[in-house]
């Protein structure tokens, strides 16, 4: 069923806690400036890591929550609550006057409360202590962030958590849009959150040989999507949320509308647990176009999944060519992961926010650190320099995942 009919989905609020900005405004300024948030990590045991780099967010939980509350919130939930609050404030939503049974929460997260899990294992295995914190289950469970958001705003409709690895955030946003479209709800807070910058998580990713080698001269340039000298992904942390509303619900209360969410495509490779397929990715982009009722010629910008792994970038490039044909070469495609890193379960939500905010501002964010082109990656990746003063009517955001869940979102300008 096309998302456009019969109930349209408006994006009325945006919120982010990201490695390159704790507000949408700051994030966009840094994207235009091509500023990377990837840096040497300051975490315990970093000397035992091959690649002690990451895109950490400039975020302190104690600046937002009092001590008793902090105990119950893993870093991932702290960031989710702050980003969701930004989206609520931006949308000027007051849940006190809403029918809260017709409001919901939809969150994507790959690893949930990873810091709590890491700390718990340290206590029981390294310290050989029995002092596991009583809140360990409640802070580490993957749905904790969604639950707290629901509790804070008294949202009594669906409270959902999606865990599809690196596409979790996009799935959470897309499924939320579907719930509004189907008529179950009128308002959804949807997004993603991830806080994976702990030793245990970083070590596990390193063991897969998917993490970038730090750039010796400039660690901030270590993530190089689509470049010949790309060496892998760099993990990042943060949260991004959108407030989604049924169109007439938004206009009736005079809400400012950032964009219309018109397309959502969801496919599964069903092939290999890590290796992506051109077919699966292309099918997801086509499904998104179909649900938006758009021809591929209508898309003006693609925020790529662009992880900077050898596999992904070549496969995604081929998939884009398959969907867009000859027009692929004239279509700006960029990977903002070159600046904010890979936020795993939050990536799809953050990049959808970036796509919407870019469309509103008429900017195309660049792929940074792309000085050496790869012959297998020959599209217009907007290398090194943002474009401004551009008219964008429709934007696509790609999210692909280990496990093979491909999710693609399309937003269109409001008029």
């Amino acid at each position: 069923m096309p998302l456009r009919e019969p109930r349209r989905v408006a994006v009325t609020g945006l919120g982010v806690v990201a490695p390159i900005g704790d507000s949408v405004e700051a994030l966009c300024a840094n994207l235009v400036a091509g500023r990377s948030g990837i840096r040497p990590l300051d975490i315990p045991l970093r000397e035992a890591l091959r690649s002690p780099i990451g895109a950490s967010a400039d975020f302190r939980g104690d600046a937002h929550f009092a001590v008793p509350r902090l105990r119950m919130l893993d870093r991932v939930s702290q960031m989710a609550l702050v980003a969701a609050a930004q989206a609520v404030a931006d949308a000027n939503l007051n849940f006190g006057t809403e029918n809260r049974d017709r409001c919901g929460v939809s969150v994507g997260s790959g690893m949930g409360g990873a810091e709590t899990t890491d700390e718990g294992y340290h206590i029981i295995y390294a310290e050989r202590s029995d002092r596991v914190k009583p809140y360990t289950v409640l802070t580490s469970m993957t749905n904790a962030a969604a639950s707290w958001i629901g509790i804070d705003y008294g949202i009594t409709g669906p409270n959902l958590t999606y865990s599809t690895a690196c596409s979790s955030g996009a799935v959470a946003v897309g499924e939320a849009a579907r719930r509004i479209q189907s008529g179950d709800v009128d308002v959804m807070l949807a997004g993603g959150a991830e806080a994976p910058l702990t030793f245990g998580v970083l070590r596990a990713w390193e063991a897969m040989r998917t993490i970038a080698t730090p750039d010796a001269q400039d660690p901030s340039a270590s993530c190089r999507p689509f470049a010949r000298n790309r060496t892998g992904l760099v993990l990042g942390e943060g949260a991004a949320f959108v407030a989604l509303e049924e169109w007439s619900h938004a206009t009736a209360r005079g809400a400012r509308i950032h964009a219309q969410l018109t397309g959502y495509g969801l496919t599964t490779d069903a092939a290999h647990i890590t290796r992506p397929t051109v077919e699966g990715q292309a099918a997801a982009m086509r499904a998104a176009l179909r649900s938006a009722g758009l021809d591929h010629g209508a898309v003006d910008y693609v925020n790529a999944h662009g992880t900077a792994t050898l596999q992904n970038d070549a496969v995604e490039t081929a998939a884009i060519k398959e969907v867009f044909g000859a027009r692929a070469y004239a279509l700006p495609v960029s990977s903002t992961k070159s600046m904010h890193g890979h936020l795993l379960g939050a990536a799809g939500a953050l990049e959808f926010v970036i796509a919407v905010a870019s469309m509103e501002r008429g900017i195309v964010p660049p792929t940074m650190h792309l000085e050496l082109p790869d012959p297998a990656c020959d599209l217009d990746y907007v290398p090194e320099r943002a474009r401004t003063g551009v008219r964008l009517n429709a934007v696509m955001s790609n999210s692909f995942a280990f496990g093979g869940t491909n999710a693609v979102l399309i937003a269109e300008a409001r008029d």
């Binding site: 008793p68 105990r71 310290e127 009583p134």
Partner: protein, 93 residues
């Protein structure tokens, strides 16, 4: 320092409370201390007194005064059995 004063120290830090509110007749629930908080609080109490709380925390601890009496009882039991291990059981091997 009395047991009450020690509890006032810990609770005012951990729960953003004034020391005055941590009075003997104050209900723990009213101070924002629920059953899981109480379990975590026991770690702090163990550290402060070098105690090992081996038994389950009684479910009828409802006021600050109940908690004071519970700790005093443990301290009295420990002084009668000085080799009971104390907080050393938490040391790394």
């Amino acid at each position: 320092m009395s047991t009450l004063e020690t509890l006032q120290d810990i609770l005012s830090d951990e729960f953003n409370l004034t020391r005055e509110r941590v009075a003997p007749d104050a209900k723990l629930a009213a101070l924002g201390v629920d059953s899981l908080d109480l379990l975590e609080l026991m770690f702090k109490i163990e550290d402060r007194y070098r105690l090992a709380i081996r038994d389950d925390v009684p479910s009828d601890l409802t006021t600050v005064g109940d908690l004071v009496r519970f700790i005093d009882r443990l301290l009295a039991a420990q002084s009668k059995a000085p080799d009971s291990g104390g907080a050393d059981r938490h040391a790394a091997p």
